[in-house]
């Protein structure tokens, strides 16, 4: 069938009068560089366009795993929206823009050099002193010395939009730790694969070269004398950072270790990564932590996410930083007002790339201008305080206007006024329909030799507020890939590919940050704690309601007692001989109470937190099964939890999810240190829980029913029956669950495995045994030497003593492990002495 006219799509003309149309010129003719795109779009019908949008969404969803980290609060994920229509720029226009961007980067570098050096610009009146010396984040500790590499700006980003005349203007500069390049990479990967013909037709410039340069520039910052490949780490605020996805993505792409402040330590003026095998010197830090928040010793005292001593290590020339500390003042919004004069003065050139018109209100004449025509302006904090929302006076109530003007008069220096032009319009694909949106985009630069290199492409957003593209990520704000066509005659580019996954260079991965292993250890413990809790809860629910036999309350009391010992119900609510009614309340609470510190929802959310923090070390499958586990109860409607049947159903779900976690880790995880610590955590937790189960279920007066329930919770009933038929007695039960090394649920089995794990850890190669290993050997021999028959004889006092001793040993074992491998991870604290104390003073 011939395509008919109706079937084809059409691109609507830009609705906005007075804005630049990216697609068509003033006569309504398609701009030459937009023709292939327009032809491509207009050749599709609604269904095909819908399919295109669906493909993009699907590819983004396939990455859901990674995007889920964004934002974080349990369950919510901020979907990353990518429009299927790229922003194609004319090559010559792009080259001009790039020239302007490079000049701007050189200029800001020179401004920073002066501010952290002679401050001649302030003396010459080219820059108001307030904007530098009055900047809350001007770092005095960084004044008067040159960072390694001799430059003050290595990475730079600018948010650019096109005004109605078609001229590009900069809305804001980013000089501290510019984000977005990772998202741009991700967008390129998705779109290049979705529109391969169009991508090839345009011969879209590849971005890989930019990242190669970035890597080179960053690695060149290593101190003189660094032998071999410098060790570079990407310093992030961690999983809770808004851009944590990008940090993880970039670290992986660039092949750098992703670390948090607590992974690093400054010793003797050098920066070290705390790893399992000791401290490893770090040569360069790719910093994604705010300037002022990087060092609690010399910068903000409350920046405990930073690295104490980082500033002095950098000052001593022992570590390279990209960007150097203090570069944040380059993104001061008010600075834009002074760039043209600064450019003439510092570079002897006219500023090629204009900013949006900017007035610093601290200047009396500017303030007058702003107050005379307030509705023409956007009013913002002069120092770019990220919490400060911009004001649009034209949209304010008269009271709010009066208040704003009063603040402008009194604190004029704290404000900047900008005139935002109408942004250019371009087609956007929305549910199979083409509509028009306005666009701004972030461009990325990296220091390259004596100049800067611009990433060919960028991160565009359909946006009404083009300033600081990342300040207000709205869920409905689409991003766009930015395409720069290659020069005519250049080779067809390969399609973008998934970046190489970081490979473990050394078998065993001794250089893993210890913090990661600590988190993995606790991940193992919590997963196992959930396992024990779920099995106990299932046994509990089976013993309430009308179906339960007359002896059920006795067993129920033991179940609750065990839960109290494990710590999943509050100890204070556990009473001897718990009555069934209160036991029932506790059991439902365990499943449904999302506020309580104890209970399954809070344990699952702890697992979720740990999963996020070890994300960079989890395989995709492991991540997926862990996410499924932590979400299992999210789907359970607590109002429907009214009968044991429904509860048991939910618990069975959890048991399946748990099995998937064990299966995936068992089958797929490389037996390196991460595995060792994960399994060590599980073994210790399982051993401890079993000891407590034995305490609760074999208390004086324990009946046959108690033993049966215990075997059921321990998943060992079948084994028992096979060995002893139906005769239930304490001694064989204890043997099976405590001392039998062939039962994977027994305490002795856990001890044996834990011992094997410890032997594989560093520090245990020699003949000298560590204290953790000595502890395990002690525990093992006390179990092996125990006379179970005798211990269970009489009133069972022997058994109680045995269990108590084994538990005490197990707790100490956990402490030993922390003290041996994680002691240096404990929280750092700030201490300081005031100026007036002259007598004994107890500090808290």
């Amino acid at each position: 069938v011939e395509p008919t006219q109706e079937r084809r799509s059409s691109i609507p003309p830009s609705r906005r009068v007075g804005s630049f149309d990216e697609l068509r010129d003033a006569l309504g003719q398609l701009r030459p560089h937009q023709r292939p795109l327009a032809q491509f779009l207009e050749g599709k019908d609604v269904k095909e366009l819908e399919e295109l949008g669906r493909l993009v969404r699907q590819r983004i969803t396939q990455q859901e795993v990674t995007f889920n980290i964004l934002g974080v609060p349990e369950g919510t994920n901020r979907p990353w929206q990518l429009d299927a229509v790229p922003l194609v720029l004319d090559r010559n226009e792009w080259l001009t823009l790039s020239g302007g961007l490079r000049q701007r980067a050189r200029l800001l570098n020179a401004v920073l050099r002066d501010c952290y050096g002679p401050q001649q610009l302030l003396r010459d009146g080219l820059l108001p002193a307030e904007l530098v010396l009055g900047h809350p984040e001007f770092l005095r500790a960084c004044h008067g010395w040159q960072p390694l590499g001799g430059e003050f700006l290595h990475l730079y980003a600018a948010d650019v939009g096109r005004d109605p005349t078609g001229k590009f203007r900069v809305f804001s500069d980013r000089t501290q730790a510019p984000t977005g390049a990772g998202y741009a990479l991700e967008n390129r990967l998705v779109l290049g694969r979705t529109l391969p013909e169009l991508f090839r037709e345009y011969r879209v410039e590849r971005m890989a070269g930019f990242f190669t340069k970035l890597r080179r520039t960053v690695e060149n910052l290593a101190p003189v004398g660094t032998r071999g490949q410098p060790r570079v780490v990407l310093l992030s605020a961690g999983a809770r950072d808004e851009s944590s996805f990008e940090h993880a993505y970039l670290a992986r792409y660039l092949g750098y270790e992703l670390v948090e402040g607590r992974d690093l330590s400054v010793r003797g003026g050098h920066v070290y990564l705390k790893t399992l095998s000791g401290l490893r010197k770090v040569d360069v830090v790719l910093r994604r932590l705010g300037d002022a928040w990087s060092d609690p010793l010399e910068l903000r005292e409350d920046s405990l996410g930073g690295v104490a001593g980082l500033t002095s290590a950098a000052r001593a020339g022992n570590v390279g930083l990209a960007n150097p500390l203090g570069a944040v003042i380059g993104e001061t919004p008010a600075l834009k007002a002074y760039l043209p004069a600064l450019c003439r003065h510092l570079l002897g050139e006219e500023l090629l790339l204009e900013s949006v018109q900017t007035w610093w209100c601290g200047d009396a004449a500017s303030l007058q201008e702003v107050l005379a025509h307030p509705d023409d302006f956007v009013i913002k904090p002069a120092f770019g305080d990220r919490r400060g929302e911009p004001y649009f006076p034209a949209q304010l109530s008269s009271d709010a206007r009066r208040e704003l003007f009063e603040r402008l008069r009194v604190h004029s220096g704290d404000f900047v006024a900008e005139r935002w032009p109408e942004l250019s319009g371009l087609p956007v694909l929305d549910r199979g329909e083409l509509s028009t949106g306005t666009v701004a985009f972030r461009t990325f630069l990296v220091r390259d030799g004596g100049d800067y290199d611009v990433m060919p492409g960028g991160l565009a957003r359909i946006n009404e507020a083009p300033d600081g593209l990342f300040l207000a990520i709205k869920s409905n704000a689409y991003s766009k890939d930015v395409w720069i066509p290659s020069a005519a005659g250049s080779a067809e580019p390969p399609l973008p590919t998934m970046p190489d996954q970081r490979v473990e260079l050394r078998r065993g991965g001794l250089d893993l940050p210890s913090r990661l292993l600590d988190d993995i250890f606790w991940l193992g413990r919590y997963v196992e704690r959930v396992d024990a809790t779920v099995r106990l809860a299932r046994a509990g629910f089976e013993r309430i309601g009308s179906e339960a036999g007359p002896d059920a309350p006795l067993v129920l009391a033991a179940v609750i007692d065990a839960m109290g010992r494990i710590g999943v119900v509050p100890r204070s609510t556990v009473t001897p001989g718990q009555d069934p009614a209160s036991a029932e309340v506790l059991l439902y609470g365990l499943l449904a109470d999302r506020i309580a510190q104890e209970g399954l929802p809070s344990m699952l959310s702890r697992i979720h937190g740990l999963t996020l923090s070890v994300r960079s070390r989890l395989s995709r499958d492991a991540w997926y099964v862990l996410r499924r586990l932590t979400r299992t109860l999210a789907g359970v409607d607590s109002t429907r939890l009214t009968s044991p049947v429904v509860a048991i159903e939910a618990l069975d779900q959890l048991i399946f999810s748990l099995a998937a976690v064990s299966g995936t880790t068992l089958d797929n995880m490389v037996r390196g240190h991460a595995w060792t610590f994960l399994d060590l955590g599980r073994r210790i937790e399982r051993g401890v829980n079993m000891l407590m189960l034995l305490q609760s279920f074999l208390a004086p007066g324990a009946t046959r029913l108690h033993m049966e329930a215990l075997l059921e919770v321990a998943d060992s009933l079948l084994t028992y029956r096979a060995r002893y038929l139906s005769s239930l007695q304490a001694a064989p039960v204890v043997d099976l669950l405590l001392t039998d090394t062939t039962n994977p649920r027994s305490v002795a089995f856990q001890v044996e495995l834990a011992k094997d794990h410890l032997r594989r850890l560093p520090g245990h190669e020699g003949v000298v045994r560590g204290r953790a290993e000595r502890r395990l050997i002690g525990l093992e021999s006390s179990l092996l030497a125990a006379d179970v028959e005798q211990a269970c004889a009489g009133d069972g006092a022997g058994l109680r003593q045995l269990l108590e001793d084994a538990l005490a040993q197990s707790w100490q074992l956990s402490d030993d492990i922390s003290a041996t491998w994680f002691a240096h991870l404990s929280k750092e604290r700030a201490v300081s002495a005031p100026h007036w104390v002259n007598e004994d003073l107890e500090a808290t």
Partner: protein, 296 residues
């Protein structure tokens, strides 16, 4: 001219071992036109400590101490011998300059940016209408700057109660102003805040004060305080120190250690420790007149 021996001992006792610690110290007195540092040294216990000295942005001597060995006790002892002469305040026409003129010059004369830096907000002292209101009856139109600063010092001395333990380093100025009580550190920052709120330059100065013993009784060792006062900038003359805790212009009994925008720039000891648990802090300052060199 007076000569002093100063010993400033800061001691932390930790509940459990500190595994690693880094501290930044501002403890060595500055050399000034009227103050000579004859000798100065910092000693650390435990002795497995590395010490690096340098000057900070404001020219104060800063020591960085790193302690690599586990320790349950840290003692930082700063000892110095200093010679102090009374600062020479030359009575020139400049001292009659009105405070508004001072403000105008600070705003317009770009050669004064080093002083102008102290007009801006700092972490602990931000200009505020409440502070401006407090200072308004003192800084009356046309009043000579030096007179007004003197009265500001006296007013704070009169209207605020010196009360140890009423405040700590994190007490905001607004609370000090409301409750009218605090210690030298608060009064110094209050004075600095008043100056800044009027568009003037205010500096925070830390140091020591020689305190006299009651007649006939020996001066108690360790009873002298680590002290703080304020400084105001007068173009053509420079910085004029004033001590609102005692309502005096410091003479030869004030020993200057360091200055900055507020306490946070010059805290005597600021550190980050790994481990340690709870700690108790014990500070002793001893300022004695050098036996060999009495006031002559």
């Amino acid at each position: 001219v007076r000569r002093y021996r100063v010993t400033h001992t800061t001691r932390y006792d930790y509940e459990s071992p500190v595994l690693h610690a880094t501290h930044a110290l501002h403890l060595e007195p500055r050399s000034l036109a009227h103050q000579r540092v004859l000798e100065s040294r910092v000693t650390i216990t435990p002795d497995q400590a590395e010490l690096h000295a340098g000057r900070d942005y404001f020219g104060n001597m800063t020591h960085f101490v790193e302690i690599l060995a586990p320790h349950e006790l840290l003692e930082v002892k700063s000892q110095s011998r200093i010679e102090v002469a009374p600062p020479q305040l030359e009575l020139t026409p400049a001292t009659r300059l009105s405070w508004e003129k001072v403000r105008e010059q600070l705003e317009q004369d770009r050669s004064l940016i080093a002083a102008r830096e102290f007009c801006f907000d700092s972490p602990l002292v931000r200009s505020h209408q409440m502070l401006a209101d407090y200072a308004a009856p003192i800084f009356t139109p046309g009043r000579p700057f030096v007179d007004a600063v003197g009265e500001l010092s006296e007013r704070i001395f009169r209207e605020f109660k010196y009360e140890p333990l009423a405040t700590d380093v994190s007490t905001p100025l607004a609370q000090v102003l409301r409750e009218r009580r605090g210690v030298c550190q608060d009064f110094a920052q209050l004075a600095v805040g008043c100056l800044r709120s009027l568009g003037l330059a205010g500096r925070y100065v830390s140091g020591y004060l020689e305190t006299e013993a009651p007649p006939g009784r020996p001066k108690l060792v360790g009873a002298d305080a680590s002290h703080a006062w304020a400084s105001a900038f007068l173009p053509a003359l420079g910085w004029i120190d004033f001590d609102p805790t005692n309502a005096v212009f410091p003479g030869e009994r004030h020993v200057t250690v360091a200055w900055g925008r507020d306490f946070s720039d010059v805290s005597p000891l600021r550190g980050i420790v790994l481990g340690g648990g709870q700690h108790s802090l014990n500070v002793a300052v001893d300022v004695t007149l050098d036996e060999d060199h009495h006031d002559g």
